[in-house]
């Protein structure tokens, strides 16, 4: 990452900027974010998405799971340096040779915020509840689908028996909750458990922060847990403030109202780069942006459904479509340079699993002439209007569903529309809400459709959705995002699942799977968008990225960033009392109101007096 400080500056320039910063924070900010007069160090984060519920068994939205990540510990976390599983509640773990029995050894110094010790019973109860209670399986049910039984051997040993091998055993993203708090809740709420919002503050948890306050639509406040087993967090408080408009959030960062803003656009990130005391962090993406082509949807029993364009079952056409697209151009113009052009499925951030076609493998590189030639040879004739017709006589007019809520997708869609026109394919660009897009996908009523996944350090899930088992059992019940089924791929998937110990061997299988995906041209990855965030260096002096090199702050798999963040020095402290801006603004309002009221009263009195 870039250094948070300017390289070398003359003393005077530095002190000038420091003075300017002082002025900015001291006199203009409406709310001092870094600290108030009581000496509490607060880290304020701007956020735009609403939380759904703090019930960790139910919470669906990314923002909520991220916050809960700081409130409840998990068994295993991710090492920010190596990107590999690292101890959290479990000090160590071990799998049997067949991969069906996993033993986790817990720490013995973990206490919940109400003073009770966290033991194996809490872990067993949490996992068992998710396995057995449908209501409680909403958030994490996918992690326990292969669990047969969870038992506590003693206070610090948990044994999980599996029905079949599961790749995510060291990436169980499940918040471990205190049994003594949740068992009564579950009993009391019964069928209404899904509606329980877990807002009895402060919420009892074992994480580095304690959920202390939720002012719906305004802010969420977390207090540091000074007794956390990993050590106390650097800040005393973590506050999330709502901004519906991302632009408003950026302005708030500029004037010091907040310490951190995430999910920036390229223009915002660029504009913040010149701002003093603001560090822009452009991290390697965890997401990939892709589009899938409908190769002819089928259920697992081979029943065809949907209304995808018939010509798309032809691999030549699919490959020609991919060759017509220039991923570098998509990065340049669709993402304004803030992305990495893609080849394989897994982002380069995960070095071991990342694969990109090189040399002879790169058969589908941008080459519209070759694509045109391929189509000519395959009998796709160009009509008078420049649009091709398939050998079966179907005009190549393809629908393309694009997420309207993702600007990079909207822009990429526009580029694709123009580029596919170059090889004689007419695109009907349908930029729609995600719900409509999902409907088209599940009903297989699409030709080209956008997709994208956030890839976890363990990439099992994003591969599992493309196995033949990922096909729907009946129309409309699909798991993944493409009607893809390939026997060789399935065999490799099974093979990599069993290689839970030999990483190199597993990576090899994973690379080979990506090669198949690339060649089949059903799932076509375009780019890996960067994650752009910015924070104030006069409020946060040190923060741990994950991964340490090129990593991000918000949305980490662990809680490294906010746990490690240290408040900046004393010079960021703002003066006590109400800032000037508040006084001026407040004064204006009061004046206006008083003047208005007085005016109206006088008027009324005058009129009534005169009427007599």
């Amino acid at each position: 990452m870039k250094s948070p400080y300017p390289p070398v500056g003359t003393l005077s320039r530095r002190s000038a900027s420091a003075a300017a910063a002082l002025l900015l924070v001291g006199s203009m900010s409406a709310v001092p974010a870094a600290a108030d007069e009581g000496g509490t160090d607060t880290l304020t984060v701007a956020m735009s998405q609403q939380v759904d519920t703090f019930n960790p068994f139910i919470a669906q939205l990314a923002v909520t799971t991220n916050i809960l990540n700081h409130v409840y510990d998990r068994l295993v976390t991710v090492d920010p340096e190596t990107n590999e599983p690292a101890p959290a509640l479990a000090e160590s773990w071990e799998a049997s040779d067949d991969g069906l029995t996993w033993t986790f050894d817990l720490r013995d110094d973990v206490y919940f915020s109400d003073g009770e010790q966290l033991t194996a019973d809490d872990v067993v109860w949490t996992l068992t509840t998710i396995m057995e209670n449908e209501d409680a399986a909403v958030a994490s049910g996918n992690y326990v689908s292969a669990f047969e039984e969870v038992t506590a051997e003693d206070d610090t040993t948990v044994v999980v028996d599996l029905e079949q091998p599961q790749a995510t055993m060291t990436a169980l993203n499940i918040p471990i909750v205190p049994q003594h708090v949740w068992e009564p809740v579950l009993e009391e709420e019964g069928d209404a458990f899904a509606d329980y919002d877990n807002e009895d503050f402060p919420v009892v948890g074992s994480g580095p922060f304690v959920l202390a306050e939720h002012d719906r639509g305004q802010s969420i406040r977390l207090e540091a847990n000074p007794d956390h087993w990993r050590g106390a967090p650097g800040f005393d408080e973590l506050v999330f403030r709502y901004y519906t408009e991302q632009d408003a959030a950026v302005e708030a960062l500029r004037n010091g109202e907040v310490s951190l803003v995430y999910e920036l656009t390229e223009a915002q990130a660029t504009s913040l780069e010149d701002v003093g005391d603001v560090e822009v962090n452009s991290a390697d993406g965890k997401r990939f942006q892709a589009f899938t082509i409908n190769p002819g949807a089928e259920t697992q029993d081979g029943e065809e459904f949907g209304d995808g364009h018939p010509a798309l079952s032809d691999k030549t056409l699919r490959q020609a479509i991919v060759m017509a697209l220039d991923n570098d151009e998509i990065v340049e113009r669709g993402h304004n340079g803030q992305a990495v052009a893609a080849g394989g499925y897994i982002p380069p951030r995960y070095e071991d699993f990342h694969w990109a076609p090189e040399g002879d493998e790169a058969t589908l590189d941008f080459d519209p002439d070759a694509a045109n030639e391929m189509l000519d040879d395959a009998g796709y004739e160009t009509g008078d209007d420049g649009v091709r017709t398939s050998p079966e006589g179907d005009r190549l007019e393809l629908r393309m569903h694009v997420h309207s809520d993702r600007p990079d997708n909207v822009q990429t869609g526009q580029i694709m529309e123009e580029r596919l026109g170059d090889i004689g394919i007419e695109v009907d660009n349908q930029t729609v809400d995600p719900g409509i897009l999902s409907d088209a996908l599940y009903d297989a009523e699409y030709d080209l459709i956008f997709t994208g996944w956030t890839v976890n350090p363990d990439p099992d899930y994003v591969f599992s959705i493309h196995t033949c088992d990922g096909l729907p059992t009946e129309p409309g019940t699909m798991q993944g995002d493409a009607y893809f089924c390939n026997e060789e791929y399935d065999e490799l998937y099974e093979a990599q699942l069993e290689e839970h110990e030999d990483l190199d061997q597993r990576a090899e299988h994973v690379h080979r799977m990506q090669e198949i995906l690339y060649d089949e041209a059903v799932v076509n990855v375009l780019s890996y968008p960067n994650i752009m965030e910015a924070y104030r260096t006069d409020q946060i002096s040190d923060i741990q990225l994950e991964p340490a090199d090129g990593g991000n702050i918000w949305g980490q798999d662990g809680y490294w960033a906010f746990w490690s963040a240290e408040p900046a020095g004393e010079d960021a402290q703002s003066g006590a009392g109400i800032p000037t801006g508040v006084l001026i603004g407040g004064g204006v309002v009061v004046l206006l109101l008083v003047a208005g009221g007085a005016f109206f009263l006088l008027r009324r009195r005058a009129t009534t007096g005169d009427r007599e």
């Binding site: 709310v31 901004y243 995600p434 994208g452 206006l592 009129t607």
Partner: protein
Amino acid sequence: MTATPTATEEPAGSPREDAPAGGGGRVRRVVLYVLGRLTTAVVSLGAVIVAGFFLFRILPGDPVRAMTEGREVSLEQQEELRRQFGLDQPLWAQFLDYASGLLRLDLGVSFQYREPVADLILERLGPTLLLAGTGTLLAALLGLFLGARAGWRPGGRGDRVNTAVALFFWSVPTFWLGLLLIVLLASGRGFFPGLFPTSGMTAPDATGFEAVVSTAHHMVLPVVTMVAVIYAQYLMIMRSSLIDEKGADYLTTARAKGLRDALVRRRHAVPNALLPTVTLVFLNLGQVVSGVILVETVFSWPGLGYLFYSGLHVPDLGLVQGLFVLFAASVILMNLLADLVYPLLDPRVRP
């Protein structure tokens, strides 16, 4: 979206035409009139509830899929969510459920917040009333004041400037004005850097008097935006109704008595011209609702409009339809009030 500020528009549901014709005593007429108005309001509300339910049910897109899109969620998890939201029931059963809930003032549950919609609305009602109330009041005061000036000397320089400025602001997209104000007055750039906060309602740690001041401070930009866009309507109405009033005989009489011009205007013309304007303040509530949605969204004001916006794309059916009913109901109520209050104010239209 605001209604056209036109002088020729008559107030909706002007009581003149609907007053029962003749017959019976005065009390009976009044009772009939009030009953008629009440029935209309209730029927309208019923139609709004039915329309709201079915309109939002035909919104394309499955809320559960939209909410879980791009996340590692199994089919069972999706089914469970669907069951929890009641989306697995047939449409008519959902409607019966919804309608019977309404009788108990239960507006259903929001999908994304997982809270009763009624609770969410109650929570957000205050901020919206504060913002919309202040905005409307200031806009009305400003509009009426400037309108009285403009209408007294139509065609004069003051009138021309006033009208031109008002119409310009009326022509500006509300959200755009709000964003510009943020850049100019709230950002670190602009002319008065960081004078006002960019969003929210109160500083999170403010208490007591400080919280009041902080709220007022946060209100400035949203209120200014609202006022700028809607005051033209009041100005135009006041202006034209004063022009109408100017020719009236009693003003000639007043002048003949030798009263000064300003006095004639202030004490005679304006109070009479105010009458039709007062009803319009009630009736413009529909537009205030639209304005408030945009202003709250731009300034992240934690009110109903912001809530509506947040539910739009999910789509959070329960929340959006609940707000739809509430917005329409508030306009119906205001119409009813206007219909009932107007005859009290203006003896000419008493039933």
